[in-house]
């Protein structure tokens, strides 16, 4: 099966956007931690997925909240693609992009992720510190769940959350990816 020409798909996406027919756009970005699926709604990036998660499942999840008119376009998402490329080139604040957390159902989890956005590159926090920052110092475990289910990893930097007991801790994309990202940010714990 040969896919349609990129030109046709790009002009379909452009026309759909012009007519307000696109619920969100998506693109695949190459990176040192494998290809990333990036989905962007009008309000901001709403999903970032690692290669282990099948596209159809991830996009179907986006469709349940944003609508099923999801179209692929590298050109319309050029700015976002450049931001990812710049980040992996060492411009660590390049991923300070608008996000849409509509895929996060629970208000507390959304609050945790909002708070986490304030943790800039090069910095790390513990689950407990993040819990305290959301005025729920005993909710470290719930903070862990919020991070594990972060729909927009990298952009909301859940890789910057570490266990207070030391070590690197868990990561939705696997600890290897977390280690790579922290090393890139020169924030890998000793």
């Amino acid at each position: 099966m040969t896919p349609l020409s990129p030109d046709l798909l790009e002009s379909l996406a452009a026309e759909a956007l012009r007519e307000g027919l696109a619920d969100a756009l998506y693109t695949h970005v190459a990176s040192p931690i494998g290809p990333l699926l990036v989905v962007e709604a009008a309000t901001g990036v709403c999903k970032v997925s690692f290669a282990d998660a099948p596209d159809d499942r991830e996009l179907a999840r986006v469709a349940t909240v944003f609508g099923a008119r999801l179209l692929e376009s590298d050109q319309l998402l050029a700015t976002t693609r450049e931001a990812f490329a710049a980040y992996f080139d060492g411009v660590l604040d390049a991923l300070d992009l608008p996000v849409d957390l509509a895929l996060v159902g629970q208000p507390f989890r959304r609050r945790v992720l909002d708070e986490l956005r304030t943790v800039g590159p090069g910095r790390v926090v513990t689950y407990g510190q993040l819990a305290a920052a959301t005025d729920n110092p005993r909710a470290a475990r719930a903070v862990g769940t919020a991070c594990a289910q972060n729909p927009v990893p990298l952009v909301v930097p859940c890789h910057r959350v570490l266990p207070s007991s030391g070590g690197i801790g868990a990561y939705g994309g696997g600890t290897d990816r977390k280690r790579t990202l922290l090393a890139l940010e020169r924030a890998l714990p000793r």
Partner: protein, 155 residues
């Protein structure tokens, strides 16, 4: 009730290839333009689809309708008289396998057009009215009368 429609981009990925081949049979060198038009039409109707069965067949119907419209426009531009003789490009077996097209095939062109707008493009009557250049009530009556004719023909 809302249904879980598959992400449109994946649908295009799965069926784009065969749709393009179908478009080539219908529209030759203009296949890509016609297919793009068809996919935009499909996107307009997509959120209003009430079931997810037969999405592939639905895309084929939208494409066929778009190609018919394109052929009509081209003939009008070329100053030809409109006829109801199907062009040779349309004589593909696939088209005649298409149950919907077979069903409506005996109706006058205007009635076919109204039925396609309603049941293939799945447009609301307000939009059909614009396409038919009449009032929404008249559009509803045209579709309804075409359906009645079909019912009587198949009674």
């Amino acid at each position: 009730m809302t249904v879980a429609l598959p992400p449109f981009g994946l649908l295009v990925g799965d069926h784009g290839d065969e749709l393009l081949r179908h478009a080539r049979r219908l529209a030759g060198d203009d296949a890509e333009d016609v297919l793009q038009d068809a996919l935009v039409r499909a996107l307009r109707a997509y959120p209003r689809l009430t079931h997810t069965a037969h999405l592939r067949a639905w895309l084929h119907r939208v494409l066929t309708t778009t190609a018919f419209d394109w052929l009509d426009r081209r003939r009008v531009r070329a100053g030809e008289l409109l006829t109801d003789t199907p062009p040779e490009a349309l004589a593909s077996p696939e088209l005649y396998d298409d149950a919907f097209e077979v069903l409506i095939g005996a109706l006058p062109g205007g009635a076919q057009f109204a039925l396609r707008l309603r049941f293939v493009d799945d447009l609301p009557y307000e939009t059909i009215a614009v396409r038919l250049d009449c009032s929404p009530e008249a559009a509803r009556q045209r579709v309804s009368s075409a359906v009645r004719t079909l019912r009587e023909a198949h009674a």
